[in-house]
């Protein structure tokens, strides 16, 4: 039965495939032109690139830049930091937008829901420079947080300079800045769930929690899985922009990530090749992670990107 249905769809589909490919064509052409054509630039990771000599004429040096990266003991330190920070962010921040979206969905009052929805997405629009300046004031030794804590503490907590605190600050500020924005896509997914399912569940006597657990969550699970796979792919990023403006030398040992390290070492030196080598390493790792994530999701959850 299932088999024959599949064959039928396939057969009837074949006749119309050209129409699908026509629909695919514009995006494909754009990607080929603007993403794939410049990929020849990746070769500068294997060359001693000089911008005035050009990519083609620059001398080939093989894996020299990669050797420099991997023979650098500090690189492993920042690689470790990157993974730890990404892991914290993934564990603590990935579920938050899902929870927020469900919470918003449970609000009956339309005006209230829309207002909260709009307000929580605001911080996404402030750049990290502004946000950082704000938190330096709030978390400073005479900032509001330390003023509140002062009756209980001998010394102010140096949130931004203390190695024990800094990663928590990173996770917190990123959550604060991004949770409302990230919830949007889940809200859309929840909206897409057939209301008849809820009505049927109510008739069956399911309470609110049961409805969330058995209808809302499964309804948005494809979106959750997709975003989880993509998030795993960006494990080596860990929030470069955020860390670059928020960290300081006191906390390098816990906060210096691949991106910030490469940025500092290469500052002003126009050393494109070294940066390209690290970038290529990151891309390869991300690609492997996404493929692995996709296979895992296929096996464990029966859903995957492809």
């Amino acid at each position: 039965m299932k088999q024959s249905k599949k064959r039928r769809t396939f057969k009837s589909g074949v006749l119309n495939y050209w129409q699908y490919y026509v629909l695919l064509f514009p995006a494909l052409a754009l990607i080929l032109l603007f993403q794939y054509v410049p990929l020849y630039g990746l070769q500068i990771a294997f060359k001693d690139f000089n911008i005035f000599v050009g990519i083609k004429e620059s001398p080939f040096v093989g894996f020299d830049h990669f050797r420099r990266v991997f023979n650098d003991a500090y690189f492993y330190k920042v690689l470790g930091n990157t993974l730890v920070i990404s892991f914290y962010k993934l564990v603590f921040l990935f579920p938050l937008p899902v929870i927020l979206a469900i919470q918003l969905n449970e609000v009956k009052n339309n005006l209230l829901r829309r207002s909260v929805q709009t307000v929580v997405y605001l911080p996404h629009f402030l750049s990290w420079v502004i946000v950082s300046g704000l938190f330096v004031s709030i978390l400073g030794s005479d900032g509001i947080v330390n003023q509140i804590l002062s009756p209980f503490m001998d010394r102010p907590i140096r949130f931004l300079m203390d190695r024990n605190w800094f990663r928590s600050v990173l996770v917190f500020t990123e959550g604060w800045k991004g949770v409302g924005w990230s919830a949007i896509v889940y809200l859309a997914a929840i909206t897409g769930i057939d209301p008849q399912l809820y009505e049927a569940a109510i008739v069956d006597g399911a309470n609110k929690f049961q409805r969330i657990w058995h209808i809302t969550l499964p309804g948005i699970s494809p979106t959750i899985i997709l975003l989880l796979i993509l998030n795993i792919g960006s494990l080596l990023e860990a929030g470069f922009q955020q860390i670059l403006v928020m960290y300081n030398p006191m906390v390098y040992s816990v906060a210096d990530i691949i991106g910030t390290y490469v940025y500092r070492v290469g500052l002003g030196q126009m050393n494109f090749s070294y940066g390209a080598a690290v970038g290529l390493f990151n891309s390869v790792v991300a690609f492997i992670l996404i493929i692995t994530g996709n296979q895992l999701a296929k096996r464990l959850a029966g859903r995957s990107i492809w």
Binding site: Q19, Y20, V37, I51, Y121, H124, V131, T223, I305, W306
Partner: protein, 297 residues
């Protein structure tokens, strides 16, 4: 509606407690996220003296509107505003067409070569040629110093494409098949059946594209050298970056012209506000029931 109300009456104590707690938590979060915005807004409406000495909290001190007059009256601001509106509108429209088309194709599980194309797109999302080959490409396409360089390369965002594709995969196949049996072709199925029931995700992704176009300053920083083609966010980025540079790095003549803090805040508000209002406007597409209702009706 009636049915719903009846069930609301039937809610248990626990459920009502949950609702109250839920609203309370949301309001708390809203307060925490609203605070910085109100702070910047208050700064933009306060005197420079009050701003730089840190007196401004959530309410303006020595209120004034001069900063906004100054920002809006700036010729760079007005030309940048125009550029940003143009690229955001054209870019979002174009991107939605291109992305939706591709996402629809890739949502068909039996399409020959589907997995190949998907991996091709994902690969493109992860690997980048770098600034130089991109610059050379734009130059050979004649796109430098043109607004098209801010629009065309960003028309396909693979992340957005995957989300739409994901959503399309969840739409009931039976609707499409019924239409196909009635003799509809792929295009009319897409436009008359798939898109109308996908409004929430289309609204979401339109928002994502609009915000991405509005906020992008990096492309303009590299590819645009004519000041009259600078988008608004580049203008803002420059002003913010300028004040972040250590004093010792700035030549005296530029240092004497640093943008005052209150003007900076006003610029932040003026460049952010137009894109903020997009979301509340799109929220009407997030209303439940539109999905099935539109199909049934």
């Amino acid at each position: 509606m009636n049915k719903r109300q009846k069930h609301f009456m039937k809610e248990s104590k626990v459920e009502r407690l949950f609702s109250a707690l839920n609203v309370f938590l949301l309001l708390l979060l809203a307060a925490a996220t609203l605070f910085p915005f109100l702070h910047v807004l208050a700064q933009s409406l306060s005197s420079e003296t009050a701003v730089i000495s840190g007196q401004v909290g959530l309410f303006p001190v020595d209120p004034q509107l001069g900063t906004y007059q100054y920002v809006m009256g700036n010729s760079q601001f007005t030309s940048s505003f125009r550029v940003s509106v143009i690229i955001t509108v054209l870019g979002t429209l174009g991107a939605m067409v291109v992305t939706t088309f591709a996402a629809y194709t890739l949502s068909k599980p039996h399409l020959p070569g589907r997995n190949f194309f998907l991996v091709l797109f994902i690969f493109a999302m992860l690997f980048h040629g770098g600034i130089i080959p991109n610059y050379l490409l734009m130059r050979s396409l004649g796109l430098l110093d043109s607004i098209w360089v801010l629009i065309l390369p960003a028309l396909v965002n693979v992340f957005n494409l995957l989300i739409i594709k994901n959503f399309f995969e969840g739409t009931p196949e039976s609707l499409e098949e019924a239409a196909r049996i009635d003799g509809a072709n792929t295009f009319s199925i897409l436009f008359r059946i798939v898109l109308p029931i996908s409004l929430p995700v289309l609204a979401t992704i339109s928002l994502f594209y609009a915000v991405a176009y509005w906020n992008d300053f990096f492309r303009a920083m590299i590819y645009i050298s004519r000041p009259d083609l600078k988008p608004l966010q580049l203008y803002l980025y420059e002003i913010v970056t300028q004040t972040q540079r250590p004093l010792t790095d700035v030549p005296v003549d530029s240092a004497m012209n640093l943008t005052p803090a209150a003007v900076r805040s006003a610029t932040i508000m003026a460049t952010t506000f137009p894109i903020l209002v997009v979301y509340p406007f799109l929220q009407k597409y997030f209303v439940k029931g539109i999905v099935v209702g539109s199909v049934k009706g």
